[in-house]
């Protein structure tokens, strides 16, 4: 399984590389007041409107000090996410979604059998498990679950 990893604070997280469409420097985000707290706002990517999810907020972290720090990941929502959602028996979601993270790191090739179930203290559903790449522990996230949580108005733990 190919996993794209990103960093938030000092921790590393990963999502399947198949779900990554594009990485880019942050664009100015229009905040959407009264929306779910995890939604940082909306951005205009070459004429397409995408919802930005703040991974920091999703994980219950504090916001970064400055707005334009970090990096953005545009998810591949047309096929990959739909497929994942289908596997998880979730409502298919195919609108453009961007994850805002502190920094993207390299793509790790992780053997599937090295993925451990999430440690007991983790309460978030969308944490799929933990994988090890050398000395680095990577928390594997399920984006489809995360989006479904937000869609259903489930508050973050």
């Amino acid at each position: 399984m190919q996993v794209s990893t990103f960093r938030i604070g000092k921790e590393f997280f990963g999502i399947p590389t198949l779900l990554v469409e594009e990485l880019f420097r942050p664009l100015p985000v229009t905040r959407v007041p009264s929306a779910d707290r995890r939604i940082e706002g909306v951005v205009n990517i070459r004429g397409t409107t995408a919802v930005v999810l703040s991974m920091r907020r999703c994980l219950g972290w504090e916001d970064l000090a400055t707005d334009l720090a970090g990096e953005m990941i545009l998810l591949e929502t047309s096929a990959g996410l739909v497929q994942e959602a289908r596997q998880l028996k979730l409502e298919a979601f195919s609108e453009p979604v961007v994850l805002s993270v502190d920094e993207t790191t390299q793509i790790h090739h992780l053997p599937i059998d090295r993925k451990y179930p999430p440690p007991a203290h983790i309460s978030q559903d969308f944490v799929d498990g933990v994988a090890r790449s050398g000395e680095i522990y990577v928390t594997i996230l399920s984006v489809a679950k995360l989006i479904a949580d937000i869609q259903n108005g489930k508050v973050e733990a």
Partner: protein
């Protein structure tokens, strides 16, 4: 014939026909209104139906062709003036349109459609109206006959130049039906032709009545049949002489059938007479001008007639319905392998056909298995004649069976055991004539030999229907024709082609998957946005190429949007039919009005309104509108009115259904809701009228005892509401018993527009965020400066803004948007906001929500812009304060505010809309200019903790919260320094017999009365509210105590205060009457508000003055006309129901007698343009009704002018 057609072609035909039918429906309704006077209209309808028929015939859609043909026949009659387009006729044609639509929409294009009912209806009209024709003057044919008789050579060939033009035209037409290109035809004299046609038509007209009786008589009246026969014989003979082959063929065929009926060898069943009718009307058609459709039908009719003979009078299609008993029996047979066929056979013939010694049964069992029969099986072989129904299980195709057994194909039917046969009555045979030719096979009937040559000529061919030779010949090579006919032919032929072609040119359509259009729309939206961004970044003013590109982008965008847009009118037009049909069905007279039908909305959104609107419209007619008798009894116009209108207001589109019927009784609805358990008695008690009426939309609500088959008032209203809410809209209802109701569906504009369409919005900036407010929601933008600030006051701890005569709530948009929490909020702005900073660019935006206003301060107004509206992504769709978003020139996204969402989020409560109080008719009847003030807005406040007082809000300049310590005591008097003024303080308890203000209060409120020149302030308690007071307050006799009346508010007794009385007592020197001495005078006052009536009454209270107060302008005018010399002065309010002040002064000034009568406008409408208008219309003075002193001074002055014979201004104006 049976070849499969290109499915694309078929789809094209269906789409085109359906849209054609839609326009036909609308045209028909127009037609009904003008009774067929508009020839273009009739032609248009005719052409549309005709092209459906033509194409349908090409595609072998028999049912379609049959129905459209009959409809066309009717239309042709209208076109030729033989028939008026009365309700009966349009009913039938509309029915035909419905049937055609249903067929086209069916998967099989109507092959299995049961069109008997509609055919019967059409025939009924075709016959029924002919009866009318027979009595009433036959417009067209008669005039032709008349014209003909003016021709001296009526029987003998005469000079053609003497014949009137219409004789010519009939002659031309006649030549057109000459048929085969026989050289003998060339020398046919047109005059002879004309004579023949006129005579034949006359003959046909005479027997029309007989024709109808034929069926009911059942052929028993031999005289009747004989008359028919004679007429046809004459026509046939003459036509043959004139070598009019088509005509000959048809009339001969009809003649044969009639002969058979006459000889009683043929039973004139419905099936038979149907074809005969058809033949006769086609004959008529062929003999009249503009018959371009008739010739084509002729061939099929001849066939049909022939087939009647071939079948030896067996009704067509001859298969009686499958008997239920047989079906049940057959169903039990489980061991079937092959399809089961039902054969209707004549045993005698069958014996001949199956030349097998073993007998029929053996023969049949050789090719299959006889499962059942209407006779006992053993009898089949022994009976040598008689009819029998056989159930044969076989693998053979029906066509092979038909050949093998020598039975007609139509007598073979596949039995579908899965389907229970319909009750025999419903499937009573009545064939569709056009379907008959398909069934025809050469008959083996021996009686056919007695048939005339024509019929025999159609026999003996193979299974495929043969057409008689003369009919087959394509019409007329012009060269062989007489000159006139060739000209006619040349014009004729291309003409029908032309009409089809132009029709196609009018609206060529192309079917494109919606997805492609949607993508196109997205892309073009992006193009427009990208262009705007480019314009923002670079200066392209000099670039022609860019300008062209820009125009092209705009053009593309507009065009693409157009593909998705549809006018509300197109939706509304559909209801014309609903209204018409229903009102006829219910015997009500209804006028249907469409207003604002040019508003364009997204097709799909509009479509989602179709069902709710249908429901509302049906309800309107069924329940809301009374019968004409009831209406007359109620003093209304016989004809009820239903209005459908659409308009845009406050960023919402509004679709309204309005009626002027009974209205809905709140109490009735409430009691129903109680009985259904939707609300409890306690809830009911606390509900307002409006709330009660809205119960109609609750799920489960119904007024069952009232329901009909059409619609149940209340039943399903929750469905209406759900439908509208599912697209993001709301519905509300205004109603007044006896006057009618208005249902208004509202939808935010951003939701109603096509995604990616353009709209105008105000872009504002607040807390560093750009937001868009739909232009239609903006009432006003006011510079936020010192002067504005002065008008901002606090009521109940919240800011309000004195906006002209209204007090508007001010909201901080950052609260509903939660903007202050964001880390990027500029601290400086945040802090200064609390104290209303003098931000140079800040503006106060007055937003209108429905009819109400509220204000908000924004940091900056960026400007009005055309924006591309896009719907919000799913993940943020629950943010109801935004209805969508757009991309601004800088590439950033800006959210569009949904005013409705803001209002809900802030739980702003507006007093019930003023318009709700209005009669729903006001708008329609033309009173919309000014609001009717049925209620008075009052500021309610307390003095002591429990005693409440009220004054009209107009009397309040502002309210300020002060501390008790701010008051300075100087001797007996108190003063307060507020802003730059030092106000003299009034305490109510000093002048009125009321309890004193609680002295322990640290802070109190101060009212600064409006329209009082000297600084004065009234100290009051802290309990403040602005309430609407209906004019039901109790009045007290004016005892100069300063209390005008009382009313209840929230269980408090509220004293209505005469503030001026108090102020007068406080400082008599300042607010004294100072009245000049006046003389006796009679004053007429027009004022609708009870409060002001009392107030003015008090103002005017002087011994010398005799005051008469009336309720409105009309009453005042009537009073004045009745007593023209009585009054010395008229005082009028401006804003009044029925006749307002402007109208009153206009009418009074029109009358020369009142030239010198002084008129004073006394109003709360202080805007300058109203003042100007009032003075221009002839008021001598325009006074704001607040200041008693000014009012009295003005009145005195005006009276003085009159007394002095002054009116000099007016006089001098006249001299000029």
């Amino acid at each position: 014939m049976e070849e499969a057609h290109d499915p694309e072609l078929l789809a094209e035909f269906v789409t085109e026909s359906l849209s054609g039918l839609q326009s036909v429906e609308q045209d028909l309704l127009l037609l009904e209104d003008d009774g067929g006077a508009d020839k273009d209209l009739v032609n248009r309808i005719f052409r549309a139906v005709h092209s459906i028929k033509g194409a349908g015939a090409y595609l072998n859609l028999a049912n379609l062709v049959t129905v459209s043909h009959r409809a066309e026949t009717l239309l042709d009659d209208i076109r030729a003036g033989r028939r008026t387009a009365n309700a009966l006729v349009t009913d039938a044609v509309l029915g035909a349109v419905d049937a055609l639509t249903a067929m086209l929409e069916a998967d099989d294009q109507g092959h299995s459609y049961n069109c008997l009912a509609i055919l019967e209806q059409l025939d009924l009209v075709l016959q029924g109206d002919q009866q009318l024709d027979a009595q009433a003057p036959m417009t067209s044919t008669d005039s032709r006959n008349l014209a003909h008789s003016t021709n001296p050579a009526s029987k003998t060939p005469g000079p053609a130049d003497g014949a009137p033009s219409n004789t010519h035209s009939s002659a031309d037409q006649a030549c057109d039906l000459l048929g085969p290109a026989d050289s003998a035809m060339a020398n046919c004299d047109p005059t002879v032709l004309a004579d023949f046609m006129a005579e034949s038509l006359q003959g046909l007209d005479e027997i029309q009545h007989d024709l109808q009786e034929l069926e009911s008589e059942g052929g028993t009246d031999s005289g009747l049949v004989k008359r028919l026969l004679q007429t046809v014989q004459t026509i046939a003979g003459q036509a043959a002489y004139l070598k009019l082959h088509k005509l000959t063929a048809l009339s001969q065929a009809s003649q044969t059938v009639l002969e058979r009926i006459h000889r009683k060898t043929l039973q004139p069943t419905h099936a038979v007479t149907d074809v005969v009718f058809q033949a006769f009307s086609t004959l008529r058609l062929m003999l009249t001008p503009e018959h371009d459709s008739a010739a084509r039908d002729c061939a099929s009719l001849v066939q049909q007639l022939g087939s009647i003979l071939d079948n030896n009078g067996v009704p067509l299609p001859p298969l009686p319905p499958l008997p239920l008993a047989d079906w049940q029996f057959l169903k039990q047979l489980t061991n079937r392998v092959y399809p089961l066929y039902r054969l209707f056979v004549d045993l005698g013939e069958l014996h001949q056909a199956i030349d097998i010694k073993e007998g029929v049964l053996e023969g049949l069992n050789a090719i299959g298995k006889v499962r059942h029969a209407s006779l006992p099986l053993e009898l089949i072989d022994t009976s040598l004649s008689g009819e029998c129904m056989l159930y044969l299980e076989t693998m053979l195709e029906p066509s092979i069976l038909s050949q093998h057994l020598h039975i007609r194909l139509s007598a073979i039917e596949k039995v579908d055991l899965a389907q229970q046969p319909v009750a025999p009555l419903a499937s009573h045979p009545a064939p569709s004539p056009a379907a008959i030719p398909k069934l025809v096979t050469p008959a083996s009937s021996s009686t056919a030999a007695s048939a005339p040559p024509l019929a025999s000529s159609s026999r003996g061919g193979p299974a495929a229907p043969t057409q008689p030779a003369p009919v087959e010949v394509p019409p007329l090579p012009p060269a062989a024709m007489a000159k006139t006919s060739s000209m006619a032919a040349e014009e004729k032929m291309p003409d029908s082609e032309k009409t089809q072609r132009t029709r196609a040119a009018d609206e060529p359509t192309m079917r494109v998957p919606a997805r492609i259009l949607h993508e196109l729309l997205e892309w073009t939206g992006n193009m427009v946005m990208a262009r705007n961004q480019l314009l923002n970044e670079y200066d392209f003013r000099e670039s022609n190429a860019f300008r062209t590109l820009s125009q092209a982008i705009t053009g593309v965008h507009e065009t693409v949007i157009e593909t998705r847009m549809q006018t509300t009118g197109s939706l509304f037009e559909r209801y014309r039919r609903v209204v018409r049909d229903l009102s006829r069905q219910l015997k009500k007279e209804v006028a249907f009005h469409i207003e604002g039908g040019d508003l364009e909305l997204d097709r799909t959104i509009l479509e989602s309104f179709a069902d709710p609107l249908t429901h509302l419209v049906r309800n309107c007619i069924d329940h809301a509108l009374e019968t004409p008798e009831e209406r007359v009894a109620a003093g209304k116009n016989r004809q009820g009115n239903v209005h459908l209108r659409s308009y845009v207001q406050s960023g919402e589109i509004i679709l309204e259904v309005q009626d002027d019927g009974r209205g809905i009784s709140a109490e009735y609805i409430c009691s129903k809701a109680l009985s259904k358990g939707i609300i409890t008695a306690a809830e009911a008690n606390s509900m307002t009228e409006e709330d009660k009426v809205m119960l109609i939309f609750e799920a489960g609500f119904s007024t069952k005892d009232q329901a009909t088959d059409v619609s149940g008032r209340g039943v399903g209203m929750d469905v209406v509401r759900n439908n509208i809410e599912s697209v993001g809209g709301t519905i509300d209802l205004r109603t007044r018993v006896g006057e009618g109701s208005v249902f208004a569906a509202r939808l935010p504009l951003a939701k109603a527009l096509v995604s990616s369409s353009l709209t105008t919005a105000l872009i504002i900036e607040i807390a560093n965020e750009c937001l868009a407010i739909p232009e239609t929601a903006i009432s006003e933008i006011i510079q936020y400066d010192e002067r504005t600030l002065k008008n901002i006051r606090q009521v109940d701890g919240r800011n309000v803004y004195q906006h002209r005569d209204k007090i508007v709530a001010m909201i901080d948009l950052r609260t509903p948007l939660g903007l202050q929490q964001s880390p990027t909020v500029n601290k400086k702005v945040d802090k200064s906001r609390a104290t209303h900073p003098m931000n140079k660019r800040a503006c106060l935006v007055i937003i209108q929500f429905r009819d109400q206003l509220f204000g908000t301060v924004v940091d900056e107004v960026v400007g009005m812009q055309e924006i591309i509206v896009r719907s919000n992504p799913q993940l943020i769709q629950d943010c109801t304060v935004f209805s969508g978003h757009t991309v601004l020139g800088n590439g950033r996204i800006s959210l569009i505010l949904d005013i409705n969402g803001i209002v809900n989020k802030m739980s702003l409560k507006f007093p019930k809309q003023a318009s709700k109080k209005n009669s729903p008719l006001d708008e329609v009847e033309g009173y919309p200019a000014y609001e009717v003030t049925a209620t008075q807005k009052m500021l309610v406040f307390n003095n002591s903790d429990t005693e409440y007082f009220a004054i009209p809000i107009e009397l309040v300049a502002f309210i300020e919260r002060i501390r008790e310590s701010d008051l300075t005591l100087v001797g007996e008097r108190e003063f307060c320094r507020l802003k730059s003024e030092t106000l003299s303080i009034v305490r109510l308890e000093k002048f009125l017999p009321v309890s004193p203000l609680n002295r322990k209060l640290k802070d109190v409120c101060l009212i600064r009365p409006a329209a009082v020149d000297h600084p004065i302030g009234v100290v009051i308690g802290r309990d403040l509210a602005v309430v609407d007071v209906a004019e039901t307050f109790e009045s007290r006799l004016d005892d100069q105590s300063g209390i005008v009346g009382t009313f209840y508010w929230n269980d408090h007794l509220v004293m209505l205060l005469d503030l001026f009385c108090v102020l007068e007592k406080h400082s008599p020197e300042k607010i004294s009457h100072r009245d000049e001495s006046t003389h006796n005078a009679r004053i007429l006052v027009a004022e609708d508000s009870l409060f002001f009536r009392k107030l003015i009454g008090q103002y005017m209270q002087r011994d010398e003055w005799e005051v008469k107060i009336v309720n409105d302008g009309l009453q005042a005018y009537d009073e004045l006309i009745n007593n023209p010399t009585r009054y010395d002065l008229i005082i009028s309010d401006i804003n009044m129901p029925i006749m307002d002040g402007f109208e009153l002064v206009r009418k009074v000034r029109e009358d020369r007698r009142f030239d010198k009568l002084p008129m004073v406008a006394l109003t709360t409408m202080s805007e300058e343009h109203f003042r100007e208008k009032g003075l221009a219309l002839g008021f001598d003075r325009y006074v704001i009704k607040i200041d008693k002193r000014e009012v009295r001074a003005t009145v005195s002055e005006c009276l003085r002018i009159r007394r002095d014979g002054g009116a000099a201004r007016r006089l001098s104006a006249e001299e000029n």
